[in-house]
Amino acid sequence: MSAILQRFISRSQLSLWHNTVQWMLPGAELRGLHTTAIANKAQAGRYRVTRDRSRPLTYEMANQPFKIAHRKSWNSWNTTSLLEGMREPETVVEDIFIRRFMTGTWHNLFLSEVIIKRQHNMVRIAGIVHQKINAQKMYFLTGYCEELLSYWLKCPVKLELQTVTDKQDVIYKYI
């Protein structure tokens, strides 16, 4: 009992009110105010700095989410977020599917994020791809993706990829 009491009272997160309550109400030490360590830090899209500055970052990775519309642009372009723009949830889910499909089909080949632009009826997919496979394979993959995605999404799909020989070209800085 005293051990539990000690444990509850010695924690620094407990407020003054809670400490007061301990001796006022019987059994208060058993009704714990469960608190955690500080968990309101933003950690989305942030990469840990290494000691020897060996982690390579692309421009996209180096700029954190709050830099969107400042130093970074969006990866998804469509009319759903405009006033009375329709079909927002379906578009979002389709975008998620397209991204997974592209990164999976072009296995280990995408060096940038998949950029999805929608214009009228068309879906235009862009990105930077590494030249690890030969051109014929790339053409096949392009045709395959366009064909299957157009059947799934019921829209014409166009792939507009840029290829890069060296991975170092996309690296912006090292941290």
Binding site: T58, Y59, E60, A62, N63, R71, K72, S73, W74, N75, W77, N78, T79, T80, E84, G85, M86, R87, E90, T91, L111, S112, E113, I115, K117, R118, Q119, H120, N121, R124, A126, G127, I128, Q131, K132, I133, N134, L153, K154, C155, E160, Q162, V164, T165, D169, V170, Y172, K173
Partner: protein
């Protein structure tokens, strides 16, 4: 037979027990492999699993890197043929150098090669001025000149008084449907409609808020039907009905009372009676003009509201009616006649 009976766990012992001729052909135990090393004195014993060779995919390296496409483009080429439609930025096709991005410390602004930011943003390389000109030229054959006789707004309003408007909507989605596209708006000026005083008054009562007094414009909005064609027909029907109904006079309209009057009418009002009383009390014989003027002023006060001009005119009229003079005007003022009476 001898071998079958003896169960020897030790591998070495088992090897020894086998006849000599079989020893060389003995299959190796997966656990311990004895390698025959010609040069070494001792045979090496390798314990442990065989190292699996890791298969690394061969990276394809193009034998000769082709130069970027813009190096083979002439400076006076037709750019509209190179970039005919909206397309994501491609650095090898676009001939000019362009940089985009915030530079890292000690680095220049990132250039166009492998620049995802340049790919993300919309570009208008498909809409250069010569291309726009070409497209306009191509569209010109579908255009007709503006009709003669409709140059000014007045003429347009005279010949086409009714304006019907509807919108269509485009979204970046597989569907072309938008429920807002069914809304149809009909606008007409009341001066274009041939209405008398009663008709106009009745129409305004029927229509309510749809009439804008500042612009003298009646606006009818229809969105109750699913198709815009149906809503358009409904608008036409509404206008027809409104006009016809306002031209008719129903028998119950004669039951209109004082409170229903749309504006103040002086004839037959208590104000007229009171003014008449004043005039007869003062004994003025021909007070037609006075009364007329007074009536006009009171009507203005009620209909147009109270502002400085109307109140001033009312003051002057009342003073004339009562025969009062401004004390400042005449030094020797005649006796002001104060007449007890209601002046409303």
């Amino acid at each position: 037979m001898f071998l079958q009976k003896v169960y020897v766990l030790d591998m070495r012992a088992q090897q020894l027990l086998r006849p000599l001729a079989c020893r060389s052909l003995a299959t190796s135990h997966p656990r311990a492999e004895i390698k025959a090393a010609a040069e070494e004195e001792f045979r090496t014993l390798e314990i442990g699993r065989k190292k699996r060779e890791r298969f690394t995919a061969k990276t394809f390296k193009p034998a000769t890197m082709l130069p970027p496409r813009y190096k083979q483009q002439k400076t006076d080429q037709d750019w509209g043929s190179v970039w005919p439609a909206a397309r994501t930025f491609h650095p090898a096709t676009v001939p000019f150098p362009v940089r985009q991005g915030y530079p890292a410390s000690g680095q220049p602004t990132p250039d166009k090669w492998a620049n995802a930011e340049l790919m993300k943003i919309p570009n208008f390389l498909h809409l250069t001025p010569p291309v726009i000109k070409r497209q306009c030229e191509a569209l010109k054959k579908f255009c007709t000149p503006w009709p003669a006789g409709l140059e000014t707004t007045a003429k347009q309003e005279k010949h086409f008084p009714v304006t019907v408007s509807k919108s269509s909507y485009l979204h970046s989605s597989p569907t072309i449907r938008d429920p807002k596209a069914r809304i149809v708006t009909l606008k007409v000026h009341l001066r274009s409609l041939d209405l008398d005083y009663h008709g106009r008054d009745k129409l305004l009562r029927l229509v309510g808020e749809r009439y804008d007094a500042d612009t003298d414009c009646l606006t009818l909005v229809a969105d109750r039907c699913p198709l815009s064609q149906q809503n358009y027909d409904y608008c036409q029907y509404l206008l027809t009905v409104l006009y016809n109904e306002s031209m008719k006079t129903e028998p119950w309209e004669h039951e209109k009372e004082l409170v229903d009057l749309e504006k103040y009418v002086w004839e037959g009002s208590p104000s007229q009676a009171a003014a008449q009383n004043v005039v007869t009390a003062r004994g003025i014989n021909d007070a037609e003009e006075l009364l007329k003027e007074y009536g006009q002023v009171v009507t203005d006060l009620h209909n147009e509201g109270e502002d400085e001009a109307t109140v001033l005119r009312y003051q002057e009229s009342v003073m004339k009616l009562l025969g009062l003079t401004d004390p400042q005007d005449t030094a020797t003022a005649s006796e002001p006649k104060y007449i007890q009476g209601e002046v409303c």
